[in-house]
């Protein structure tokens, strides 16, 4: 091979200086010019493939486009062969066919009454470690634009977050910044944050997970998708100007060279920062402007600009249509006039959209944008033929078949190998660990459990989010699922929950993914909603590690089989690889989001006990399952054994029972049993309204198992005495095992959780332990200072 990569790490990325533009003509004339393809994350065979596609060496601009679009982040080159399984699931929810499925920006499903919902989850992990505030903020902004590009009005966001141990040196910086960034962006945008999760594990210390979810609603007739059909139609870029931010963010940050990327931390002379700064007020204008453009019928095709910026938007729009596209790069409005054309193509400046507009609509399009003070510029046109041609100062700098950039990138069957140590890990069962025996020991265990980071009160986080803006929030943390009303007349609403348990997935990735799915379904169902569809965010280590690839393959298969058994489609999602510190990958963390529907949100159910005298019922079977549990972690620092057994038939029956019982109005409260086991569920259900509970555990069951086992397929419900008969009949009809385990008690003399024959503990003592953990770890950050919107945050100390 006659071409060698440029090897110096700090060399200027582009073969030509700023003054000389690398044109197609030049590229044809200088086939042997060394190009920095390796630095841009391309493999030598990938570079050769580009040369074969083009029949010459790529220009600098073409190399920029291919390198970002063929990066793991954009091309899904390691995951694509596995993700196909999701597409093989019936594209049908329990209410009917999906309106748009996998492949669009986000899947769209019918929720009845003429309404449709779109929702999707996406990761922003690596940027959130480099610059926590802005990384998390722009993660929210990116997923909101994805939803907007479907023609839907964004109505709520959620965030699933994972950090290193609370006492790890860097966690306060990372967690403070990320939570503030999520809150800052979402609050300024006027979107309620209705839920999510926060979890901790040492493998996330150098690699936090920020998985942002957005829900949008639209009428059926408003659905829009990204196509650039119709020669002569014009291509408009609108929103923020293009600056030098985030250049290389996609190809470098989201690839293996993350730790040595020019991120400003290494102290090297980085010319362009790899982080982006978001402006939520600009995004708010973009939302309102875009929805008005849709309403007036001015948009033929649309695409948001996210990772890979213009490279992605132009190539995806062009390849989704039936023609080619010509783009004049020098027409792109810039914030920094010194940007080279390659940099303009790669810039990840936030709050930008690209639209295809028929010529007769352009004037009106520009007028609508002007009304919202959104800058809009014609930058190109749809052409006949099938080439994407980009020019710069009248010179052609890109001339490619757009499909080869956007859709026909490399796809790898990465080697897969079950790690040798998996057997030893699974043999090291937590069921063999010493258990508390006496009531006093169990009581002390419970108090340590409620204070543990993953079980403790998360108000420190959720209090920084506006949960009720827009006035349609029905349930928000600490509820099991977020619920928003969609139609104010009929009360139609949707419920969304996200769940993931990296510890279970580490022990068995197939079961771990199904447990996450089952838990998210349960959380939707306990809220009174019927689960309809699934989105996922698959966070894993390096796909070049055979063991990681095995985890990934197993998790995808588990999720696919789980969705099939539960009758739910996967409507979209995201894969994030290279989540590792040095050679140590994170716990495999498939995070699953489930969306459900409530015909009337007035029938929603909260997880909280309210009135003395309500009967407490436990649903589902409890087994001797302590491996991977919070008990094993908190009491023994242990991870080993096999995760709880997954019984999808039982899960489905439980889910049906829960939402149908809610619909029948017989549930006073319902709460999922998961982290920490049955007793943590009881504690959480009591704490909200300050009531007690008197509970008798079933005879013959070891109390540690009864209290702390995390067997799947379980929930606790409270039922008014008058409804118990009907509830028992419903449970029997669905063949869900159930038992009346106790009763809600009042505040006289003080609210107390009493476990008969074992111990009692006052709510006050539980509350103190439960509430103290996060504020204490954040060093008094609980009284968070007001934060400037979209502004830069000083590095936390």
């Amino acid at each position: 091979m006659g071409v060698r990569p440029v090897s110096q790490a700090s060399v200027a990325f582009w073969p030509m200086t700023d003054r000389h533009v690398d044109t197609v003509e030049l590229a044809a004339a200088s086939p042997d010019l060394p190009q920095p393809w390796a630095e841009l994350g391309l493999r030598d065979d990938e570079y050769e493939r580009i040369r074969t596609i083009l029949g010459r060496r790529p220009t600098g601009c073409e190399l920029a486009m291919y390198s970002v679009m063929w990066s793991e982040h954009c091309s899904y080159k390691s995951s694509r062969v596995h993700l196909r399984r999701f597409a093989e699931l019936p594209q049908e929810t329990p209410l009917g066919k999906t309106l748009a499925g996998i492949g669009e920006n986000a899947g769209v499903i019918d929720i009845g009454q003429g309404w449709a919902v779109t929702f999707k989850m996406e990761s922003h992990n690596h940027p959130s470690y480099v610059e926590p505030y802005q990384g998390a903020a722009t993660g929210v902004g990116g997923i909101v634009r994805d939803i907007l590009a479907m023609g839907a009005r964004p109505v709520a966001v959620m965030d699933s977050l994972r950090f290193g141990p609370l006492d790890a040196p860097d966690t306060v910086r990372v967690m403070t910044g990320i939570v503030a960034g999520v809150g800052g962006y979402g609050n300024c945008l006027g979107l309620p944050n209705i839920g999510g999760e926060v979890a901790f594990d040492e493998t996330y210390a150098g690699n936090p997970l920020v998985n942002a979810l957005c829900v949008g609603v639209l009428r059926h007739e408003q659905l829009h998708t990204a196509h650039a059909s119709g020669a002569g139609n014009l291509v408009l870029l609108y929103g923020a100007r293009t600056g030098g931010d985030g250049i290389g963010g996609v190809s470098v940050l989201a690839s293996e060279t993350f730790t040595t990327a020019g991120d400003g931390l290494s102290g090297g002379p980085t010319k362009r920062p790899s982080v982006q700064v978001g402006d939520p007020f600009m995004e708010k204008l973009l939302i309102e402007c875009t929805l008005e453009l849709f309403a007036e019928g001015l948009v033929s095709g649309i695409q948001d600009l996210g990772g890979a910026g213009l490279s992605c938007a132009t190539s995806e729009l062009a390849s989704a249509g039936d023609g080619g596209m010509r783009v004049r790069l020098d027409q792109v409005p810039l914030r920094d006039s010194s940007l080279a054309p390659e940099e303009i193509l790669m810039s990840e400046s936030q709050e930008r959209m690209m639209a295809v507009v028929e010529p007769q609509h352009v004037e009106r399009f520009l007028a609508v944008c002007a009304r919202w003070e959104v800058e809009a510029t014609v930058v190109g046109e749809v052409t006949t033929g099938n080439r994407l041609v980009v020019s710069w100062s009248e010179q052609t700098v890109v001339d490619v078949p757009p499909r080869t950039v956007a859709h026909d990138g490399p796809a790898y069957e990465r080697p897969i190998a079950r790690p040798a140590e998996q057997d030893a890990l699974q043999a090291d069962a937590a069921e063999r660990l010493p258990r508390p025996r006496t009531g006093a020991e169990l009581r002390a265990t419970l108090l340590r459990m409620v204070a543990s980071p993953s079980c403790a009160d998360k108000s420190w986080v959720t209090n920084q989010y506006d949960r009720y803006v827009r006035g349609n929030t029905v349930l928000a943390p600490p509820a099991d699922a977020g619920v928003v009303r969609v139609d104010e007349q009929t009360g139609l609403g949707v419920a969304v929950a996200t769940d993931g348990n990296g510890r279970f997935a580490r022990l068995d990735p197939y079961a771990g993914a199904q447990l996450a799915l089952a838990e998210a379904c349960r959380n939707v169902a306990v809220s009174g909603a019927r689960p309809l569809a699934v989105t996922d965010c698959l966070n894993f280590g390096s796909p070049e590690d055979q063991a990681v690839m095995w985890q990934f393959e197993r998790a995808v298969q588990g999720l696919t089989d789980g969705c099939r058994a539960l009758g739910l489609p996967v409507t979209g999602g995201n894969v994030s690889f290279y989540n590792q510190t040095g050679d140590t990958p994170i716990l495999p963390t498939p995070v699953v989001g489930v969306l459900g529907v409530l015909p009337d949100v007035a029938r929603r159910v909260t997880p909280h006990f309210r009135f003395a005298g309500q009967a407490i019922w436990s649903l589902g079977d409890t087994r001797d399952e302590l491996s991977g549990s919070q008990w094993a972690l908190v009491e023994h620092g242990h991870l080993g054994g096999l995760p709880p057994v997954v019984d999808l038939r039982a899960e489905r029956a439980l889910v049906e029972l829960l939402w149908q019982s809610a619909d029948a109005g017989v549930l006073a409260a319902a709460h999922d049993v998961s982290d920490g086991g049955l007793v943590l569920t009881l504690v959480e259900s009591c704490l909200r309204h300050g009531v007690g509970a008197c509970v008798r555990l079933p005879a013959g069951v070891d109390p540690t198992v009864a209290l702390f086992a995390e067997s799947a397929g379980r929930a606790v419900v409270a039922v008014a005495p008058a409804d118990e008969q009907r509830f028992a009949e419903l449970a029997a009809a669905h063949a869900v095992p159930c038992a009346r385990i106790g009763v809600v008690t009042g505040a006289d003399p003080e609210p107390t959780i009493l476990l008969e024959d074992l111990f009692s503990v006052s709510l006050a003592e539980l509350r103190t332990a439960w509430e103290a953990t996060l504020p204490a770890a954040m060093h008094g950050e609980a009284t968070a200072r007001p934060r400037r919107a979209g502004g830069s945050e000083p590095a936390a100390v």
Partner: protein, 82 residues
């Protein structure tokens, strides 16, 4: 006692939403002659002496707390003490 001033500015390439908002407000108020606005912040540190070591310490302070070096640059200068 000598006073050290630390000026913190968003890096040139980084979007500055605050500066942008001020710029927009200027235009609305009729101040048309301003092409761009960028907004930073200024810290004044009164220190015991201006030795080489003391200024190095101020730079460390600026790097650690006063600025976010990922997206901001800073400049340290000594003002005459009064």
């Amino acid at each position: 006692m000598p006073r050290v001033v630390v000026d913190v500015m968003p890096k040139d390439e980084i979007l500055d939403p605050q500066g942008r908002a001020v710029h927009g407000a200027l235009r609305r108020l009729g101040f048309d002659g301003v092409a761009d606005v960028r907004q930073g912040k200024r810290f004044e540190l009164t220190i015991d002496d201006v030795s080489h070591e003391a200024l190095a310490e101020v730079r460390r302070i600026a790097e650690t707390l006063l600025s976010n070096p990922v997206i901001e640059s800073f400049a340290v200068r000594v003002e005459d003490g009064r």
